[in-house]
């Protein structure tokens, strides 16, 4: 379990990192290293070079920009959890991050890293999709912004181009009648979930006006369940009906801890859990 040889480049600024990356297809970005380094040590990956962006200044800033909260790519999960702005404006993210691995990993793992890596079982990609976040990418031809739901394309496949680096995620504010509610079912605390759900709910008094359901740990990427969300708005919770709908719009992929059948069941149950949380 020792990494194969690689070269190492410590980027001083984002332009350097982009330039280096554009010149070497085999190079990869190192931020917190919580997914990359185990993959290297298990020799599942053998990049030519690690471009270390962790020393770049100001890339971990968390600030308000217009109608968005902007989280710099290098902000660690712990930075985000302990940030006053986040606790005030986006407290649900703090609760979500409590479910992300364990303290030691959260001290190193970065927000941008988790979003860019796009693990379908991770919480943050689904959160970004449910929040309709904007993902800020920087490349040779400058910056561009991609909506989170367009960013994730397939299993560990994103819209990130080979010369680009993810530099920030911009979350729109939730209005007073909007809520982001989440839940997940894990074998152990801190594990990747057997199934998880991020739901953005817009209420008109107690009636659900609008609902987005985004699942994680269910398929190849954050899975949006649009039709199922409509059914929930119309009929509230009907297990059989919702299960059937989910089965038709998500291709559930089983893993070691839960079969696809189990995931479908849990995905259905999670809607009820979310609705119960909403009532509380």
């Amino acid at each position: 379990m020792k990494a194969p040889d690689f070269s190492y480049f410590e980027a001083q600024n984002i332009q350097d990192a982009i330039k280096y990356k554009s010149e070497d297809d085999e190079a990869v970005i190192l931020a917190g290293g919580q997914s990359l380094l185990p993959a290297l040590n298990m020799r599942l990956s053998s990049p030519s070079c690690l471009i270390d962006i962790s020393k770049i200044n100001n890339l971990n800033e968390i600030k308000i920009e217009g109608d968005f909260i902007n989280i710099g790519a290098l902000a660690t999960h712990s930075d985000v959890m302990n940030n006053d702005l986040i606790n005030e404006k986006l407290p649900c993210l703090v609760d979500i991050l409590k479910m992300v691995a364990h303290a030691a990993i959260r001290n190193k793992g970065t927000h941008g890293g988790s979003i860019a890596y796009g693990d379908p079982a991770a919480e943050l990609p689904a959160f970004a999709v449910a929040m309709d976040a904007e993902i800020v990418l920087s490349g040779l031809s400058g910056q561009r912004i991609v909506n989170a739901k367009d960013f994730y394309r397939g299993l560990f496949e994103t819209d990130l181009k080979s010369d680009e680096i993810l530099i920030a995620i911009r979350y729109p504010f939730l209005s007073h009648n909007q809520h982001l509610i989440f839940d997940e079912v894990c074998r152990r605390h801190g594990d990747y979930a057997m199934a998880g759900l991020m739901a953005r709910v817009e209420l008109d008094k107690s009636k659900i006006n609008n609902l987005d359901l985004v699942y994680f740990a269910t398929g190849d990427k954050p899975n949006i369940a649009q039709n199922t969300a409509k059914l929930v708005i119309d009929d509230r919770y009907d297990y059989e009906k919702l299960k059937k709908s989910l089965a038709s719009e998500i291709d559930f992929a089983g893993d070691l801890n839960s079969s696809s059948e189990m995931k479908l069941h849990l995905a259905t149950i999670l809607i009820n859990k979310i609705l119960n949380k909403l009532e509380r």
């Binding site: 379990m1 020792k2 990494a3 194969p4 040889d5 298990m42 020799r43 079912v185 074998r187 152990r188 605390h189 801190g190 594990d191 990747y192 057997m194 070691l256 801890n257 839960s258 079969s259 059948e261 189990m262 479908l264 069941h265 849990l266 149950i269 009820n272 859990k273």
Partner: protein, 797 residues
């Protein structure tokens, strides 16, 4: 709680005297060392000219090596050489994992590296020797092997079928060992039973997951003809014999050093082919060689355990008295029986221990152990106990439910009475000094089952199912020579201790018992200081070095306190006696008027004493002042072994309460209770740590841990992310209490305490889960009890 007084044993003297340390929860000194990073583990060791190795391991469960080409790998940067079995076998003879005392066992010869055929995924087939591990791993990728994959015999249930893949053609089948125990006449007893219940349980393979992985540094010194092995094992003298025998070195010139060891659980008491290869390489090259297993190697090459399917049948009369029990156990052990302890012991313990707390006049047990193409399986903490206890206690619960009596009542009706020892298990193994009745009574008081029942009923209309279980069990501890030695294994059942008073007045103690994190050093120190009458901080301990400690067995089978501790006690008493003899001569008084307190020889009737330092200085430096003929011996050595019975048993009663979320299948253990009777507790806090830690490992087996294999015999979850061990969040409150029945086999009276938690927790958790599921007329009979199994039982998926 650092100075509680417990279980006074009259043979040990008053607890109200200075330096009475036995029975006190004193903090252990070496915990501080480990917290501060001051430990010395095998991987911390750096020797001049040391080489590192990495093994090429079979990617297949069963495959033939048509050809292997290591030439390119040899040219890789930093590589010293690359060996296959051809080079290694010149320096290491093969071994066979069989013993003579348990009937016929059949296992073929095993060599450090597979010769022609690899028989499990992870079996080593070649080794790269390089300047560092990373370079060795780089070169592994350059070894070319022409593999011909063969059909693998993965499933143990079909291993004896006519069309099974016979893993060792020289044996006519995959049968390793079988044993039948038959006491009385079960068939007749079942016929006359009022009720007969049956069940069938399934236990997945799991493994030990030590914090520190296996490691070895072998250092052959050609000029001395001596090999020193730094090894994180449990039994240095056993390894000394093994290395001498298979490397063909004079046994007196083999030194095994086991300093700090980060957990063992029985994983590190076996002979591993990769470690033997490292010793052979060092002898071949005359250089120190290091191997540290990485986590992936640990999962696929550390021994696995459990892997049983067992069916059972229990017959009771109208009142619930047990008339007969019958079990039939099948176990799969991988392609080889492990050396030197064999892989028969787990099944043997299942046969020995099932039904052990109860009077069962008719008992039949059949065990069958087969080969398969998976990682070798062998003895791991609580060998066989989880299976024996789970089948017994599941059947007892079923019988209680069938005839309509409570879970505690049926047990109380059938216990061997506390006053009826010595006695025997249903299989005929001698038992003594046990307390199932008193332990169960104490457990029931702690649990308050009436309250739990009320809560259970109140929860019935909610989404959460509640359930509880209670169990009783026996734990094998302190084995005698009848365990291994009688079968021909060079594994000492005797342990020794050596204690000396040094010129400074300090006490040095060495013992053949070893420490893997459980606090051995601390309890040895407590016994020595207590018996000598000195302060704890004046005792220094040396363990784990065959050149420096007395000969003995080491730490396994919960034998450290009961056997090694008794040896320390005896040696300390002898040394004290010598000290008093010398003091009486110096002080010109009657020996019986003297005692040792606080490192000073005192006059019991008052008056000035002399310190041990003064006494030692007189003996060592001014011996001419001593009266002629005074015995100047300030070193005492003693040994102890259990005679006449196979084991000293400990007993436990355990209870737990669980909640099951009917939507998700997630099981929460709300609370866990354990009552243990391990006789004298030398350090109650360490005993309770053993019980709690054991319970946590039992929770692992019951709910989480499983080595998952695909149909081709590939392990699917060989990482710490995918192999689930219980973590802090999954650990319930574990309330521990004690009943104390001292063992009559020793002065100290201590029985073992290391394994009951692991042996009992799976049974009580499974019983509690099925107690909860009973409301829905369903049950789960397979461990680990996963959320998916719960949901399937509840027909939710």
């Amino acid at each position: 709680m650092d100075d509680i007084k417990v279980n006074q044993n009259p043979k040990l003297g008053s607890m109200d005297r200075p330096n009475s340390y036995i029975g006190r929860s004193l903090p252990r000194e070496n915990a501080k060392k480990h917290l501060e990073g001051g430990g010395q583990f095998v991987d911390d060791l750096v020797l001049p000219r040391m080489l590192h190795v990495a093994f090429l391991r079979s990617p297949f469960a069963h495959a033939e090596i048509k050809s292997i080409n290591v030439e390119e790998a040899k040219t890789s940067p930093g590589v010293f050489d690359v060996y296959t079995s051809k080079e290694i076998d010149e320096f290491c003879t093969p071994w066979v994992g069989t013993l003579g005392h348990l009937g016929e066992m059949r296992s073929p010869e095993q060599t450090p590296l597979a010769k022609k055929i690899a028989r499990w995924q992870g079996e080593p087939i070649a080794v790269v020797i390089a300047n560092n591990r990373a370079q060795a791993e780089d070169a592994l990728e350059l070894i070319e092997v022409d593999w011909e994959e063969k059909d693998a015999q993965v499933d143990m249930e079909t291993a004896l079928d006519d069309n099974a893949v016979v893993i060792h053609p020289e044996l006519d089948s995959n049968l390793f060992w079988t044993r039948t125990v038959n006491q009385g006449d079960v068939n007749q007893a079942f016929e006359t039973s009022h009720a007969v219940v049956e069940t069938k349980l399934d236990f997945a393979r799991h493994t030990g997951v030590t914090l520190e992985s296996r490691g070895i540094v072998a250092d052959w010194n050609k000029s001395e003809g001596k090999i020193t092995i730094y090894h994180n094992g449990q039994a240095p003298h056993m390894m000394q014999h093994i290395i001498a025998k298979h490397l063909e070195v004079n046994e007196g010139l083999v030194r095994i050093v086991s300093r700090d060891v980060g957990g063992s659980f029985g994983i590190k008491v076996h002979v591993y082919p990769d470690e033997m290869a490292v010793a052979a390489i060092s002898k071949k090259l005359g250089r120190p060689v290091k191997f540290i297993a990485d986590r992936l190697e640990s999962f696929t090459t550390d021994i696995h355990a459990r892997c049983h399917k067992i069916s059972g049948k229990l017959g009771v009369d109208k009142e619930g008295k047990i008339l007969a029990m019958e079990i039939n156990d099948l176990s799969g052990i991988g392609p080889f029986s492990m050396y030197p302890r064999t892989s028969a012991i787990e099944t043997n313990q299942v046969l020995n221990l099932s039904g052990a707390p109860y009077v069962i006049p008719n008992y039949k047990a059949v065990g069958t152990v087969v080969f398969q193409n998976k990682t070798p399986m062998c003895q791991y903490r609580a060998v066989g106990h989880p299976i024996a206890v789970a089948i017994t206690e599941a059947l007892v619960d079923k019988a209680a439910n069938k005839i309509g009596i409570s879970l505690s009542e049926i047990r109380k009706k059938n216990f061997i009475p506390d006053t009826a020892y010595p006695n025997k298990t249903p299989s005929g193994v001698p038992l003594e000094d046990l307390s199932h009745q008193a332990s169960m009574d104490k457990l029931l008081t702690m649990m308050n089952i009436q309250e739990i029942e009320k809560e259970k009923i109140a929860n019935l209309d909610k989404n959460v199912l509640s359930g509880y279980g209670v169990i009783s069990m026996c734990e094998v501890t302190n084995p005698s020579p009848l365990f291994y030695g009688v079968g021909g294994a060079h594994i000492s059942s005797q342990d020794g201790a050596s204690i000396r008073l040094e010129g400074s007045g300090a006490i040095h103690l060495s013992s053949s018992i070893t420490e893997q994190g459980q606090g051995t050093e601390a309890i040895m120190k407590q016994i020595a200081a207590d018996q000598l009458g000195v302060s704890m901080d004046s005792v220094r301990v040396t363990l784990g070095d065959t050149d420096a400690t007395p000969y003995g067995g080491g730490t396994w089978a919960s034998r450290g306190a009961g056997i090694g501790g008794e040896a320390v006690l005896k040696a300390a008493r002898t040394l004290k006696d010598n000290i008093l003899d010398i003091a009486a001569a110096i002080m010109q008084t009657d020996k019986n008027s003297l005692d040792v307190e606080n490192n000073t020889v005192i006059r019991k009737n008052g008056g000035e004493g002399i310190t041990l330092q003064q006494l030692a200085e007189t003996v060592y430096y001014r011996g001419h002042e001593l009266p002629k003929g005074t015995n100047p011996e300030l070193l005492a050595t003693a040994s102890f072994l259990i005679e006449g019975i196979p084991f000293v048993f400990t007993n436990s009663a355990m209870g737990c309460k669980v909640s099951i979320d009917q939507d998700t299948g997630i099981i929460k253990i709300d609370k866990f209770w354990a009552v243990e009777d391990c006789g004298t507790q030398i350090n109650p806090k360490l005993v309770e740590e053993q019980i709690r830690g054991g319970v946590i490992q039992g929770i692992g087996g019951a709910l989480f841990e499983e080595c998952v294999y695909d149909d081709q015999g590939n392990m699917q979850n060989a990482t710490m992310a995918d192999y689930l061990v219980p973590m802090a969040y999954e650990m319930p409150d574990i309330i521990v209490d004690h009943v104390t029945t001292n063992s009559g086999r020793s002065i100290i009276g201590a029985k073992g305490a290391g394994e009951a938690g692991t042996g009992g927790a799976p049974a009580v958790i499974m019983n509690a889960v099925n107690n909860a599921l009973k409301h829905h007329g369903t049950e789960v009979l397979s461990q680990p009890i996963t959320p998916e199994k719960i949901l399937k039982a509840l027909r939710k998926i």
